[in-house]
């Protein structure tokens, strides 16, 4: 064993490089995490490990619906380590958002980035709190797009996909920008194996509805439909905007469409004035605010267009408990 030359140790140890861009970037990122972590909470509402939530307003926490597996005896650990009881204000499986009401109006609301500010290539950090401390992952916004619908039919105001690794606690946590402001609520439950973040506009809208009514209302008329290509002659004869319509293949007994006299074989071409060529477009037209009102369905029956008024009902989902 050598190490006999005392002078060699300090001399051959390279001095750390001067304060650098990387160092200041690192400091900024750590500061962003520290700032946002005051607004993160750990939610104890499932087995295994806690999930993450974000303080939206004092006493109000938003999180991912699919991480809340227990609706009673929910407790929340705040960033300062204090524990607070919470009740489920409501959940919306279609957008994967749930809202908790804390038993006291505590918590620092998270600072939010401007809506619609997410840009492809922008640095983002995904924060989780699946335990006593906040955890972070770094990546970029990998794709943005317009409004889209989840596979459960929920409306998401903007498509924002992140390129970063998904770790335990990702869902229900916040995606933040390099200055620590929230750009979205993370969910791994909206797209398979892809890190999606729910934009603030959607969180705000859904949280508001959940806090007011405990659920997100969605319209229901009781039709099963299938897209069919329309004969060119019919499209031309009635100046239809689309070449595809939705053929009615099932009608629920006693449902609004049944009561309005829709028949099997009718082809729906428009709902409330909007052309529909895909089942998701029909679903999209049946928004919650239309529940209880009358909408006009334009259908082709025997090749001739006909307007039928349907009084929209409210969709019941299994999770609406």
């Amino acid at each position: 064993m050598s190490a006999s030359n005392p002078a060699s140790t300090p001399a051959s140890t390279p001095a750390p490089t001067t304060p650098s861009v990387l160092q200041s970037l690192s400091d900024d990122l750590a500061a962003a995490v520290a700032k946002a972590s005051h607004s993160l909470v750990a939610i104890h509402a499932r087995r295994r490990i806690p999930s993450t939530g974000v303080i939206w307003r004092p006493g109000i926490v938003v999180t991912a619906h699919h991480t809340i597996q227990r609706e009673e005896r929910i407790t929340v650990t705040l960033a300062d380590g204090t524990s607070v009881g919470a009740t489920l204000a409501g959940r919306d499986p279609t957008t994967d958002i749930a809202v908790l009401r804390l038993n006291s109006e505590v918590g620092v609301p998270i600072e939010r980035a401007a809506t619609g500010a997410a840009r492809v290539g922008q640095l983002v950090l995904a924060l989780g709190m699946p335990g006593p401390a906040v955890t972070a992952a770094l990546g970029v916004v990998s794709a943005t797009g317009g409004e889209w619908r989840t596979w459960h039919g929920g409306r998401i105001d903007q498509f924002i996909r992140l390129d970063l690794a998904i770790y335990d606690g990702f869902s229900g946590g916040a995606a933040i920008d390099a200055s620590g402001r929230m750009v979205g609520l993370n969910s791994s439950g909206l797209a398979r194996a892809s890190a999606m973040t729910i934009p603030l506009a959607t969180v705000e809208r859904v949280a508001e509805q959940l806090l007011t009514s405990g659920r997100v209302r969605r319209g229901y008329i009781g039709l099963g439909v299938q897209p069919v290509r329309l004969p060119a002659g019919v499209v031309a004869a009635h100046a239809l905007p689309r070449e595809v319509g939705l053929m009615v293949v099932s009608i629920e007994e006693g449902a609004p469409a049944h009561a309005a006299g829709i028949s099997l074989g009718d082809v729906v071409v428009a709902c409330a004035g909007e052309a529909v060529a895909d089942p998701s477009e029909l679903l999209a037209a049946l928004t919650g605010d239309r529940v209880g009102t009358s909408v006009t369905l334009r259908v082709l029956r025997g090749g001739a267009p006909q307007d039928i008024a349907v009084t929209v009902g409210e969709r019941q989902t299994r999770s609406d408990r």
């Binding site: 750390p16 400091d27 990122l29």
Partner: protein, 207 residues
């Protein structure tokens, strides 16, 4: 910094990353068995031929170490701590570039870190990420979980801060996260090794 100040921050960061990679490559060694099987990576801790790695890397008591720029050396395992998963290898060399050792206590969630190693036989692969969490025991950092992509062969290699200082020894992958043994634990390991007489130093090692 001055020479790069006219660049955009992203370009300047890229250049710095290049420089940092070169610095870290200088003190990261590749460890293989005598029959040539790649075992993992190691960190030159002292210029006179002391290399730190994981205990699970040195399955061969006489591993072969290749030190960038200084060639290949037959090593002798002089300290082995299976509980901490750390080992110390001595090679007959002097004047090596030793790693500057950083302070794991200065790390916070979100701090940028780099890992260098020889994953799956790929020499000097670099990955960049942020600190995910630091776990402590009795107030001292013990493990650093980092959002960096590691693979077998990264074991024993350095986890480095943005100044090129070693803050941990990459040891395992848990749930996709790289987990490194904090430099504070390495220091304790080296103190114990010195105390037990396994290694004798005339220069302080675990300062």
């Amino acid at each position: 910094m001055d020479s790069t100040s006219f660049l955009s921050p992203a370009l300047a960061a890229g250049l710095e990353l290049d420089g940092l990679a070169a610095l870290v490559r200088g003190y990261t060694v590749q460890i293989a068995s005598r029959n040539g099987t790649a075992l993992g990576s190691g960190v030159v801790w002292h210029p006179d031929g002391l290399v730190v790695t994981n205990a699970h890397v040195v399955r061969d008591p006489r591993p072969v170490l290749s030190v960038g720029g200084a060639g290949e050396f037959e090593g002798r395992v002089v300290a082995h701590d299976a509980r901490r998963d750390l080992a110390l290898i001595s090679i007959d060399a002097a004047g090596l570039v030793a790693a500057p050792v950083g302070d794991a206590e200065s790390l916070r969630a979100g701090s940028l870190v780099l890992a260098l190693g020889h994953p799956l036989g790929v020499a000097h692969a670099l990955t960049l990420g942020v600190v995910h969490a630091v776990t402590t025991t009795r107030g001292m950092p013990r493990y650093i979980a980092a959002d960096v992509r590691l693979a077998p062969g990264n074991s024993g290699g350095p986890l480095v801060d943005t100044s090129g200082r070693v803050v941990g020894i990459n040891a395992m992958i848990v749930g996709g996260l790289g987990v490194a043994i904090a430099s504070t634990v390495v220091r304790a390991f080296l103190r114990d090794a010195a105390r037990s007489g396994a290694v004798s130093y005339t220069t302080p090692l675990a300062a």
